[in-house]
Amino acid sequence: MSGKEYRTITDVKGPLVFLNKTEPVAFGEIVQLRLSDGTMKNGQVLDTSDDQVIVQVFEGTASVDRQTGVKFMGDVFKLPVSTDLIGRILDGAGRPRDGGPEIVADEMADIIGAAINPYSRESPEAFIQTGISAIDACTSLVRGQKLPIFSAAGLPHNDIALQIARQAKLVGSDDDFVVVFCAMGITAEEYNFFVHDLERTGALENACLFVNLADDPAVERLITPRLALTAAEYLAFEHDYHVLVIYTDMTNYCESLRQIGAAREEVPGRRGYPGYMYTDLAMLYERAGLVKGKKGSITQFPILTMPGDDITHPIPDLSGYITEGQIVISRELHQKGIYPPINVLPSLSRLMNAGIGPDKTREDHKSVSDQLYAAYAQGRELRGLVAIVGEDALNERDLQLLKFSDIFENQFLRQGRDEDRSIGEGTLDYAWELLSNIDTKYLVRLDQKWIDKYHPTEKKE
């Protein structure tokens, strides 16, 4: 490709630059802009034709004028990858942010990432113990899964994500996780919180951070997660690492997507978000998993804050259709002072059934989890009834369930920020103990054989 510099900008609109009279430019090509004062900016081709090329400028278009020089680099966006990425902090466009040297590339990896052939995927089925009972018992996580945290402003999703990053392990294996952390538009304060915690536990040496903060260019956020996932794929599939990708906050990413859509005058979908947002999100979330013949894996923990606590908002909604479940953080529980305030009822892990059971967790896991859900759901429903008619109107069964819902929240859900419960004794046995507050005849989800074996007072030795 020619190294020609064009000065043919016709329009500048929001983050987009339009120029004409270029030689053929490839779709997706990387662009360098040289401003009259010598500053450089980067961009990418969004639309190309013989007459006009549209470039999205990552750093924003401030100070761009008609004299700005535009150079097409003849290649699509690539990230220099090597195992040296581990322990480094990079900015949202992949440049060192920690004052360290440039990354010496082992290989240049295309950041768009190709789709994994569904036939070449391996089924995720290795249980990850997070040490958090609500997750381990009710929405079990498996290696290769993408499980977002649906939270909202003012809730402790960051603490939960960090606790998971700290405690996550495979039962009966010492393989450690490498954490790839991707920040999109979070505040410096939140960022410091993450970095301090990773430093405190020594995890920083085993992590790679891509950071785009709230005052960094918004458009850059569209490539930050792609860089993070490209690094993750390289580490997982070329170097056998088990990678845990945490990205926050997906809501900021989607806002940027909407901004570009609006600047291009596209026909908007729901709430102004572009119609292709589902596909765009899928291109990120689907880069999780295991691949035949490779030892490594990518497990994703996207964090998103639901605008107005609304789970039907397009961002959580489209995410929920792609990810393999969700962990929902509840304001109500948080206000009751319960940590982690995970509402297990709308939470779900779609890969749970593959990851639990005999040889993986324990044979009674599925039954126990179903019973916890059913009893807690009914108990919560009864709270509404009690508020109207009082406890006197309840029959014996309903009274027990009502009582159980409080026990469940205060004892099962509640745990310390550094409390690491094992799946067997810490979580499942504890669940049995709490369930024994309900008469066995009301525990219809439990197979009799598990009652005989695990029920604290009714088991037959």
Binding site: A115, P118, V267, G289, V291, L351, V444
Partner: protein, 580 residues
């Protein structure tokens, strides 16, 4: 075939505009130096707008565009079963061999294995006059399915020669007097429905082994059903249960824009599943199409047509085919995405104005038909819909509900209580029972329709009573209504709930379903008698044999034991009278 060369003028994501060629609408073209596959979707002056089935980054204006003269077609013939394809019928295992675990581009692969040798047994003979759809011979394609090699539509004449023996799919097996050579493979354009003689009204249920579906909201063979539901409510599990257990002879499963790991689960699980009807591997009757959410969006748009064309081909052989599309919302979104790149005037919520007619055309390819050869074949279509926020007032759900005859409404509230399948019994419906009732009377029991009505009436009554209970508590109700609540709870927990992951509970045959429903009604009747005789409700509902009856459904051989368990329960209920 007229080959013409043009050049790329513009590229915007999956939509490419070419100049200098004048192709037909929906013609397949090769785009760029790498020869990416695309389809012409709009002609505009001297520009042709092409949707490209592969990733377009790195392609520049000025690269060539080449016509192929053909519309998007699939290859039909022996070798379709047990296969897994992407949206444009490229077999995924072969793509893995040629390009590794990540799907790159510019690779072409035949839908059928052109080299594989099949044992063709001629059934027609020289001198026979044959018309389109006539069966020429058979191939044992898999252990359970006999592939019937047919005369392709548009061909007829007198057979000059035909021979049994070993052939691959492109070799001539039959020659007609006029010199036409017929091979086992035929091609068919996916956007055109395959011809048939006439459509019949469905009169046989598609039995799925799922109690709530078969018993309350049955689907007929040749019928259409829609499953809308918010995420996490169990659409995919329900679809997979249907793919596993429904008594169709052929199953086509389209994973359209869904999760990669989910498809993998299907792929790893299916080969190990045994068909309860034949005792052989289920995979033997299955073709899968997997175009996951991150695979190119244009191929996702095509995947639904690829699937239904394969289904029609098997229907033409006289088979009952069930087609599952998971999810049609992703298909609609693919249409929306392409439409917006074309800068078309949008309809509701940005979807193209032709959304509902495309949906209707697709579902209309279902049905029970008289095939060209005079046989009877059917396609039942079950489409999952993923409405944003679970709100079915959106265009895809509404467009679907206007067409389908069965609505299985999934409910987030039920899913949250882990009531699975989370199908809401109050708002779901099926329009087929009137045409199926005779079949139930003849094959299951004469009072089957009445039992169904009674069960659904009880559920209705329960929902009304629940409103009162919400206000005053259940103790304030008269005893007979409290009993009704207990009976309804039994229907919900014992009958409607079904554990898809439990070895035994995952499938109930229709006879057992009927027996279970009768057992519930019998509990109601005996309890009424006991209560009239002075028994306490508390004692009646808590007889131990009742929970044995209910838990028993998880044990092997429940069908043989249920009568005995029922007797025990009834005896114990009668005994509660004497206790007082």
């Amino acid at each position: 075939m007229s080959e013409e060369n043009g050049v790329i003028y513009r590229i915007s994501g999956p939509v490419v505009t070419a100049m200098g060629i004048s192709p037909r609408m929906y013609e397949v073209v090769r785009v760029g130096d790498e020869g990416l596959m695309g389809e012409v979707i709009e002609l505009h002056g001297d520009q042709s707008v092409i949707q490209v089935y592969e990733e377009t980054s790195g392609i520049s204006p000025g690269e060539p565009v080449i016509r192929t003269g053909q519309t998007l077609s699939v290859q039909l013939g022996p070798g379709l079963l047990t296969k897994i394809y992407d949206g444009i019928q490229r077999p995924l295992p072969e793509l893995e061999q040629t390009m590794g675990v990540f799907i790159t581009r510019g690779v072409d692969a035949d839908g059928l294995d052109l080299e594989k040798i099949w044992d063709f047994a001629a059934t027609a003979k020289a001198g026979d006059e044959v018309s389109p759809g006539a069966v020429l011979g058979t191939v044992q394609e898999t252990e359970t399915i006999e592939h019937r090699v047919m005369v392709p539509p548009g061909t007829s004449g007198v057979i000059k020669s035909i021979k049994s023996g070993e052939f691959n799919v492109t070799q001539t097996v039959c020659t007609l007097e006029d010199g036409t050579e017929i091979a086992m493979m035929q091609k068919w354009p996916v956007r055109t429905p395959r011809p048939f003689v006439q459509k019949y009204a469905p009169d046989t249920p598609l039995i799925t082994g799922q109690r709530i579906l078969d018993f309350l909201f049955p689907l007929a063979k040749g019928g259409t059903a829609g499953i809308p539901g918010p995420f996490g409510s169990g659409k995919t599990v329900t679809q997979q249960q249907l793919a596993k257990w429904s008594d169709a002879q052929i199953v086509v499963y389209i994973g359209c824009g869904e999760r990669g790991n989910e498809m993998t689960e299907v792929l790893t699980e299916f080969p190990h599943l045994i068909d309860p009807h034949t005792g052989k591997a289920l995979m033997n009757r299955t073709t899968m199409i997997a175009n996951t959410s991150n695979m190119p969006v244009a191929a996702r748009e095509a995947s639904v047509y690829t699937g239904i064309t394969i289904a029609e081909y098997f229907r033409d052989m006289g088979y009952d085919v069930a087609l599952m599309a998971d999810s049609t919302s992703r298909w609609a979104e693919a249409m929306r995405e392409i439409s917006s790149r074309l800068e078309e005037m949008p309809g509701e919520e940005g979807y193209p104005a032709y959304l509902s007619s495309r949906l209707a055309e697709f579902y209309e390819r279902a049905g029970r038909v008289e095939t060209l050869s005079g046989d009877d074949g059917s396609i039942s279509v079950i489409g999952a819909v993923s409405p944003p926020g679970g709100d079915i007032s959106e265009p895809v759900s509404q467009g679907t509900l206007r067409i389908v005859k069965v609505f299985w409404g999934l409910d987030a509230g039920l899913a949250r209580q882990r009531h699975f399948p989370a199908i809401n019994w109050l708002n779901s419906y099926s329009l087929y029972p009137p045409s199926l009732n005779q079949w139930y009377r003849d094959n299951i029991s004469n009072d089957f329709p009445e039992v169904r009505t009674e069960i659904s009436a009880l559920l209705q009554v329960e929902s009304e009573l629940q409103e009162i209970v919400q206000l005053v508590g259940s103790d304030a109700l008269p005893v007979d209504q409290q009993l009704t609540l207990e009976v309804a709870r039994m229907i919900r927990e014992f009958f409607l709930q079904q554990n898809a992951f439990h070895d035994v509970d995952t499938y109930s045959d229709l006879k057992l379903q009927y027996t279970m429903a009768k057992a519930i009604l019998s509990f109601q009747e005996e309890s009424k008698k006991a209560l009239a005789g002075g028994a306490m409700l508390e004692d009646v509902v808590n007889v131990p044999a009742r929970s044995d009856l209910m838990r028993g459904r998880f044990a092997e051989g429940y069908a043989e034991k249920i009568e005995g368990l029922l007797d025990d329960m009834n005896k114990q209920i009668s005994a509660t009278m004497e206790a007082n």
